[in-house]
Symmetry: C2
């Protein structure tokens, strides 16, 4: 049924999808970088910028939604083409969530910057850097359709979960030792959780890449090192 002309048009549409994903990815990455910087540099203006920029990512997600639906309806793709369309739809959902979590981090920078600096900001910074690397690498893997690299990124989620669990305990201990830091540390707890969730979404994108390239699922094996939900912190003694 498809004539050469149609095939070419469809190829252009698929490329357009990839372009929007790359654009969304770059924006989401910047959102994460800026939200982390807003915390470490105590830059409230930058934080407000992140909150504002979230709408741009949302707009691109809507564009992907429309485009994929249109392609499914008009081109009725199969096999790898279908996976490319569905893959773009999935990846865009994850990128929108990444920007959303970055926005949440930025929102928390606003009250944090009004308080005395407290708690393990260094731990947040380090965890943020680890997750940022995951996001960068998974976006490159997506652009290049690199399933091996996707697996590599995917396997790093466990490390993030472990950093998160340890950071969670550290922040809690901080609060217990100095209750004046409770409000600030509560924001840090949620920031740590947001960063951990961004790592999850980078991992989702890695799964999407694998599915897109290989046509099968990279699941079930997902490593899980996060046990912060089970945390019972003993009140530390510092005599």
């Amino acid at each position: 049924m498809p004539v050469e002309h149609t095939v070419k048009e469809f190829e252009q549409e698929l490329n357009r999808l990839n372009e929007i994903i790359a654009q969304m990815g770059a924006l989401a990455e910047t959102q994460l970088i800026d939200s982390l910087r807003a915390i470490t540099d105590r830059d409230t203006e930058l934080a407000m910028q992140v909150v504002k920029n979230d709408a741009k990512v949302d707009a691109l997600e809507s564009e992907i939604d429309d485009l994929t639906l249109q392609e499914l309806a008009l081109r009725q793709p199969v096999a790898v083409d279908l996976r490319r369309v569905v893959g773009a739809l999935r990846a865009s959902t994850d990128l929108e969530r990444i920007s959303d979590y970055a926005t949440n981090i930025a929102k928390r920078a606003v009250p944090l910057n009004q308080m005395t600096p407290a708690g393990p900001i260094h731990g947040i910074h380090r965890m943020g850097g680890t997750v940022l690397n995951m996001v960068e690498d998974v976006l490159e893997a997506y652009g290049q359709g690199d399933a091996e690299r996707a697996i590599e990124v995917w396997s790093r989620d466990e490390e993030v979960d472990e950093i998160y669990s340890s950071l969670f305990r550290e922040i809690l201990t901080y609060m217990i030792e100095d209750p004046r830091t409770i409000t600030a540390c509560t924001h840090l707890l949620f920031i740590a959780k947001n960063i951990e969730r961004i790592g999850d979404h980078a991992t989702n994108i890695a799964e999407t890449i694998y599915f897109l390239v290989k046509g099968e699922r990279l699941r079930g094996l997902r490593p899980k090192g996060d046990d912060a939900s089970f945390a019972v912190v003993d009140v530390p003694r510092r005599d």
Copy 2:
């Protein structure tokens, strides 16, 4: 191209999708009910049951993934049929997340039940009830393809966000007043956040129903009353 036989088969497949969504919905709802009960009744055994049952919901999501891909590839649906397939795909993602959040609540019940009861458990219970009603109603609306009811559920998200913001402040105040409750209250903060996120996913499903029935988007207008990220709690005085 489609002969009567094919149309009938496809209709059966679409019904099968709806059945799985209904099954997933019922399971996710039970997960939420049980996780809340595990908190209020301090029932650790029930909490562990919720953690275990999450795998069932995950398995149904995978089934929906496979089925929708197969339908897109083989049936190449258009218009309302396409929306039904894509709608099921979206709804299943939200239901999986709802069960995931319920599981997280249940995991936190385990350490909580080992501690002295602390903090505004009543507030958690009340917020949980509100969100549970949203989940119940949105699942009924999905089953009946009821766009009006979907809008009604969708409009309730603002109320949940407001309850969450107020509960967040209440828990924080509690911690500040009695630092011995910090660990317990931290779990309550995350539980409140998890319930709020479940409300978001019920709202997403409402948007999916609207899109499925009307073929256009119910967005942009989404009410937002959650400003807990901006919270700066003043240390309360209770003299």
